[in-house]
């Protein structure tokens, strides 16, 4: 795609701007769609219908109507809040989740920036969210927000370890940190995907990655930073209007980001499951987005099924279950490759 743009324009700045905006073209409709989808999925799981009126067919305009409402809402800042941090936090949150998309290959023809340290970059940038959460929690000057922020900091730091170890398993096989390169290695039929290689180590690593990523994006059963029934709304308790919307947007974008990473690393990314059948740049984007959406759906499914863990149990899962097993996978793969 970069080549294609170079043929049309000769201005680097313009090319990079277009390249950077492309994920946004996906993210904004995606967020509107997924918020609607989450309502419908939860509703149908719970014997309800969900939104049915707005826009006619199954309430498809509901999220847009809600967005309009949020845009018009008064922006309330608590009198005792730390103004600068309070206002900055939602944008840092979104910037962190958006920056992840720079290194994610949407198809064989499009990747924001094909760096040789893509995976490393993603891990680093996605940690920005915790800074924003801490800022939001501290600046709100609300004890519930502070609790949410502290929990979140503890949680993200702990769950990053099993996440990184699980990713390391794939890196060891691929021998590359570039996501585009990792995708190229998985070309072919679906048994070429890493999840089916070196069984069962990569498969276990995949499970570990998925569970840990749930914790990283604060989804049930690890949604304790914003645990509604305990902390009111955690670090977003004091936010309203568009700032609240930014947090919501970042949450849903993060959901897709971790799903996209799971799809890229373990499930072949933009590769068609059927070899050359339906492959190519366009179908590549289709496969990539469908795989991502599939994991997003699983996250929703889990959210509306499971209760929430307690803080100490959350730590237990990370330190005593996920991390040791991730080490087992890393050692197992290491031995396998040496022998």
């Amino acid at each position: 795609m970069e080549q294609f743009l170079r043929n049309i324009f000769d201005n680097d700045f313009f090319i990079y701007t277009v390249m950077a905006v492309v994920p946004l073209v996906w993210i904004l409709p995606y967020a509107l769609f997924v918020i609607w989808l989450e309502r419908k999925v939860s509703a149908h799981m719970q014997d309800r219908l969900g939104p049915m009126r707005t826009g006619g067919w199954h309430g498809w305009l509901q999220t847009i109507a809600d967005m309009m409402k949020l845009l018009q809402k008064e922006d309330i800042i608590p009198a005792a809040a730390d103004n600068k941090l309070y206002n900055l936090a939602p944008y840092i949150m979104f910037a962190g989740s958006y920056a992840v998309f720079a290194a994610i290959p949407f198809s064989s023809a499009y990747i924001g920036s094909d760096m040789n340290i893509g995976v490393f970059y993603i891990i680093a940038v996605s940690s920005l969210a915790v800074v924003a959460i801490l800022m939001a929690g501290w600046a709100s000057n609300n004890k519930w927000s502070l609790f949410g922020a502290m929990r979140s900091a503890a949680q993200v730091v702990r769950y990053e370890i099993p996440t990184v170890l699980a990713i390391l398993v794939v890196i060891m096989i691929a021998g590359s940190l570039s996501l585009q390169e990792i995708n190229h290695q998985q070309t072919g039929w679906f048994w070429n995907w890493y999840i089916f290689k070196k069984f069962p180590f990569v498969f276990i690593a995949f499970i570990i990655y998925f569970v840990a990523s749930l914790a990283e994006v604060n989804r049930t059963p690890f949604d304790i930073p914003e645990a509604e029934s305990e902390l009111v709304a955690g670090y977003i308790t004091e936010y309203s209007g568009m700032k609240f919307a930014m947090f919501m947007l970042a949450e849903f974008v993060n959901m897709f980001a971790v799903s996209a990473i799971a799809a890229t690393l373990f499930l072949g990314g933009w590769n068609s499951p059927f070899g050359d059948f339906l492959s190519g740049p366009f179908w590549g984007a289709f496969w990539f987005l469908s795989k991502g959406m599939f994991f997003v759906f699983i996250q929703m499914w889990l959210r509306w099924t499971l209760p929430r863990l307690r803080v100490d149990q959350l730590m237990y899962v990370s330190w005593k279950v996920l991390t040791p097993w991730a080490f087992v996978c890393v050692i197992g793969i290491g031995l396998w490759m040496m022998l």
Binding site: R48, S229, L231, W304, P307, R308, R310, V311
Partner: protein, 386 residues
């Protein structure tokens, strides 16, 4: 904010670490205090050192209202509003107290209808309790499943007396309407439909690994503490005390049915933990279905209005009548001065006693556990404050 020095925490240089405890107000507007309860928490990080419940945000002067009515019947709608999740049981208790004061006997059919309604109401109330408990722990879906079933019970009440929440159905000496034609079939259909649903709740929530982790061994209420605080109902039975007024101090026609009170056995942890209290409610629903089915089979014919007194003017005296409401021992102490209105009506609220135990069993738990404990006590603030 109180500053304390925690002695065991020493730095490497031997100096004590100065840490601050924080006062955290949970409620009166909080998603999981089940109404307008305010819990004042003294926390050390996530650990709760002290819980002080503050009540009275929903105080509606029920007892004073009862003294200012023009007659005894007018109190019933106010009684409804005490425990709005189990209004039938509330009516039932008050009506039994006044009937005892008057010394009247009601027709057999009325007693059966009252028992059917009270047991259906108990199921509806336990469904709210268990559903919102799931909500407190973070599981949203069981809540809506349980409301789906509760809806069918409310439909049954609606075809009987027109109301869905506050019924004013059980009257002194009778009931406001006889059960409509087709009610018995519909109620039997409901019993058939409801039994398998209990298994669904157990699969989805009760035996969920995370749910058990969150509730087992949390908020353990030993039997002697429960008795000392005057706990009753599922909270007392959850602690392993086999005491149910329907069996141990039978009123109405409860002695005619075959059922067993459920007690906590500590299957998942210690006897008297949150899981036991929750599970007692789930199992009680099954027993209530048993009672309803038997009552529907045995219900005799008769006139439900025949014993309703035209004018209620009891002789001077006082009476205390207690019944087993969905939340425990519901007592009414009614004093008559010989006039047409009660001189004094005192409600003995089970929730009030059950709530008082929260500071005893919450010490040393985490904030998330306070939510679990408060939910397992199943309080209705309308009844606590009255």
């Amino acid at each position: 904010m109180k500053e304390v020095i925690l002695s065991p925490n020493k730095t490497s240089t031997g100096r004590a670490v100065r840490t601050e405890e924080m006062v955290l107000n949970m409620g009166p507007q909080h998603p999981s205090t089940h109404g307008v309860l305010r819990l004042e928490l003294l926390v050390d990080g996530e650990i709760v050192i002290e819980v002080i419940p503050h009540i009275g945000y929903l105080h509606r002067c029920f007892e004073k209202h009862a003294e200012s009515m023009t007659n005894y019947q007018q109190v019933i709608p106010y009684v409804d509003r005490m425990d709005y999740c189990a209004a039938m049981n509330m009516d039932f208790g008050y009506v039994i107290a006044v009937e005892k004061l008057l010394g009247i006997k009601v027709p057999e059919r009325v007693e059966y209808i009252r028992v059917i309604m009270a047991e259906l109401q108990r199921i509806a109330s336990h469904l709210i309790a268990a559903g919102t408990y799931g909500l407190d722990i973070g599981a949203f879906t069981p809540f809506l499943y349980m409301f789906r079933e509760r809806e069918r019970i409310l439909d049954l009440f609606e075809i009987t007396c027109g109301a869905r929440l506050l019924y004013n159905y059980i009257w002194i000496g009778g009931v406001s309407h006889d059960i409509p034609p087709g009610f018995i079939d519909k109620a039997k259909d409901f019993c058939q439909y409801f039994r398998p649903k209990i298994k669904e709740y157990n699969d989805l929530l009760s035996y969920n690994e995370i749910f058990i982790k969150r509730t087992a061994n949390v908020g353990v209420l030993p039997a002697e503490v429960a008795i000392a605080y005057g706990c009753s109902g599922p909270v007392l039975r959850g602690s392993g005390v086999d005491f149910d007024l329907r069996r141990d101090d039978p009123y109405s026609v409860y002695h005619k049915f075959d059922w067993t009170p459920q007690i906590g056995k500590g299957e998942m942890g210690t006897v008297g933990d949150c899981w036991d209290r929750y599970m007692v409610r789930i199992r009680e629903m099954e027993q209530s279905i048993n009672i309803v089915e038997q009552a529907l089979d045995q219900i005799p014919d008769g006139d439900v209005m025949s014993a309703i007194p035209k004018r209620i003017r009891p002789n001077p005296g006082d009476v205390y009548a207690r019944t087993e409401s969905a939340r425990g021992e519901l007592g009414y102490y009614v004093i008559s001065d010989g006039s047409g209105k009660p001189f004094r009506v005192k409600g003995r609220s089970p929730c009030f006693s059950n709530l008082s135990v929260i500071s005893e069993i919450s010490r040393g738990h985490m904030i998330a556990d306070i939510v679990a404990i408060a939910g397992s006590l199943d309080i209705v603030l309308g009844e606590v404050d009255r």
